[in-house]
Amino acid sequence: MGADYGGYGSDDTTRLFGVRLDRFDRLRETLTGDYKATFGLTTVILFVLAAIFAPELAPFDPMAQEYAIMQAPSLSSAHPFGTDSFGRDLLSRMMYGARISLGVSLVAVTIGAVVGIGLGLVAGYFGGVVDDALMRFVDVLWAFPWLLIAIMLVAVFGQGVWNVIAAIAFAYIDDFARLARGEVLSIREEEFVLAAKNIGLSDTRIMIEEVLPNAVAPLIVQFTVLVARAMLAESTLSFLGIGVKPTTPTWGALLGQGRSLIGQAWWISIIPGIAIVVTVLGINLFGDALRDAFDVRGEEGSP
């Protein structure tokens, strides 16, 4: 661009959440420089890849049964993670299970986040009666046991992935709404919000352009924490038998299935358990790195 003031100040740099995209250099630095972040990212990527390419990568059909049931894990055998009580390959079932477990939790939390942050933003920004009305609604959501909703959905619509997603998303709306509202309440007192009003921005624009970017850091952390919790919630539902169809492999279902056999075949429950723990840890570490990288004030030294 032909500007003559040293190339500073232009619209060329793209932005995300109001942060210059060259900030992604910082993200890259954080992710490669900090071993915790590197671990988090690697774990998340590995699990996502395994889930996406399960049909190509899985050594066996997750439903195929063998006569030799409950083979112990062994690197030398055809079943490195062993087989379950029906003689199905545990590694393959884990890979297919990742599709449900990761997919359900990510989609459910995203839905919960969009709705919850929307509610919290509006409630916190306008305050007063709007705040009261919206937050009482959120209180009702919170007071409603999510398991009951899950059971209700299954009773009415039968078992299915979307019912699980809906039940979990429903349960997390209030977490996001409350957190977003709390952040917005303090941010709206900052004078830059008034300053935005002064230049003629509408309330909607102020909420999205000025307020939300400043609330994004804790929301990212909340998102990663809840993704982890959603995986456990999905496991709970599967464990109770109201998750996705019983034959569909999910980590939670595997865990539940192996529970009764823990004495004879520990690996059927322990291996999915480890997978859940590692994923949850990975997502949390990744979230922390994301938050640090997006904090424009996080540079060395204070102003």
Partner: protein, 373 residues
């Protein structure tokens, strides 16, 4: 944008022809509900904080009007109400011949372009997640004034005007010093070429050497861009430095106003006198000037005192008329456009000096007696 002098004005507080009135406020009130919640409203809690309670004020084109008062006097609220960041509860605000007190949303946008506000704390007033260049450029986009290279050129020119370098366009607020941030705040206010700029304590967050720099800059920009200023400050020295006229606020009301020189040399209201007495002096003769403070605290804005709102603290409290009747602004003899709201304006220096104010309890007795009458 030329400010041709309009000689047809009939401003009652002027003896000679003054420039046209840019902003005229009449009986402006801003009350905030004490509790905003649904339940409190249902329970009938309608208590309000009377931050601004009936203020008349005029700003003429090209002049600087100062508003002074203690914290809690409602001066910032007044500034925000007049620039329509807040909606007045009552009263009228006329900007350049146009009533703007009930404007909202879209109607206000052309007004927002012409009235700008500079905040006290530039750190809080700049979005920490935007570069300062973006913050300054944004009004140009919002008002469709310029875009692309033209927009950035304007911003860069303005940066240069206030002494910032082009490299600072891409800085985030926390990367700048306090003085630089306030310069950015000035840029954002000036970029839409406004007619009126409201300054809310523009230098109180700054070090003293930077204060002088910014005040000089504010003065220079007024001459260069032909601006009118409304300047809010608790610092009488700052106000004296830049203002043509001053209004003194106490508990949401104006208690005295007039030309700067008149207020400083011939203060009439006891509150104004107390404020002036409280200015720290650097006379350097080694003797400590005996600076007088003011006893008591600013009154509750929810339930302000009866009559003259200053009566519980007034060092010149006289009798039942002080808490009994509300004094109105009356002309001060000899000074053009100088008004004060006190029942006892015409007392001599000697009388004042000889006066011993009643104690708090005595005042209470006098007040209840006058209420019974």
């Amino acid at each position: 944008m030329s400010s041709t002098t309009d000689n047809t004005t009939t401003d009652d507080d002027a003896t000679d022809a003054r420039p046209r009135e840019l902003l005229q406020a009449a009986n402006v009130k801003k009350h905030f509900p004490l509790n905003e919640g649904l339940i409190d409203r249902l329970l009938g809690d309608d208590r309000v904080v009377r931050a601004v309670d009936g203020v008349d004020l005029t700003v003429h084109a090209g002049e600087t009007v100062g508003i002074v008062g203690e914290s809690g006097s409602g001066k910032s609220t007044l500034g925000r109400t007049l620039s329509r960041l807040y909606e007045p509860t009552d009263g009228s605000v006329v900007f350049d011949g146009q009533h703007i007190e009930t404007h909202s949303g879209r109607e206000l946008r052309p007004i927002r372009r012409r009235i700008q506000y500079v905040f006290q704390d530039p750190m809080s007033a700049l979005n920490p997640r935007k570069t300062v260049g973006q913050s300054v450029a944004r009004p140009l986009e919002v008002h469709d004034i310029a875009s692309g290279d033209e927009k950035w050129k304007r911003v860069a020119d303005l940066f240069e005007e206030v002494g910032l370098g082009p490299s600072q366009l891409d800085a985030y607020p926390h990367e700048l010093s306090g003085g630089q941030r306030q310069r950015v705040g000035l840029c954002r206010a000036l970029v839409t070429e406004p007619d009126l700029v409201v300054f809310d304590e523009p230098v109180s967050a700054l070090d003293v050497t930077l204060q002088a720099q910014i005040l000089n800059l504010i003065n220079r920009l007024q001459r260069e861009f032909d601006l009118s200023y409304l300047l809010i400050s608790h610092n009488l020295n700052v106000v004296r430095q830049v203002c043509d006229r001053i209004a003194v606020m106490y508990a949401g009301e104006i208690v005295e106003r007039g030309a700067t020189a008149d207020i400083f040399e011939n203060p009439q209201h006891p509150y104004t006198r107390s404020l002036l007495d409280a200015i720290p002096q650097i006379d350097g003769d080694g003797t400590r000037a005996d600076r007088k403070g003011l006893d008591g605290e600013p009154p509750s804005a929810t339930n302000p005192p009866s009559g003259c709102r200053f009566h519980p603290r007034c060092p010149e409290f006289i009798d039942g008329s002080c808490p009994g009747q509300k004094p109105s602004l009356q002309d001060v003899e000899g000074d053009a456009g100088h008004e004060a709201a006190c029942h006892w304006l015409d007392r001599s220096e000697a009388e004042r000096a000889a006066h011993t104010p009643p104690s708090t309890t005595e005042r209470e007795v006098i007040r209840s007696e006058s209420a019974d009458d």
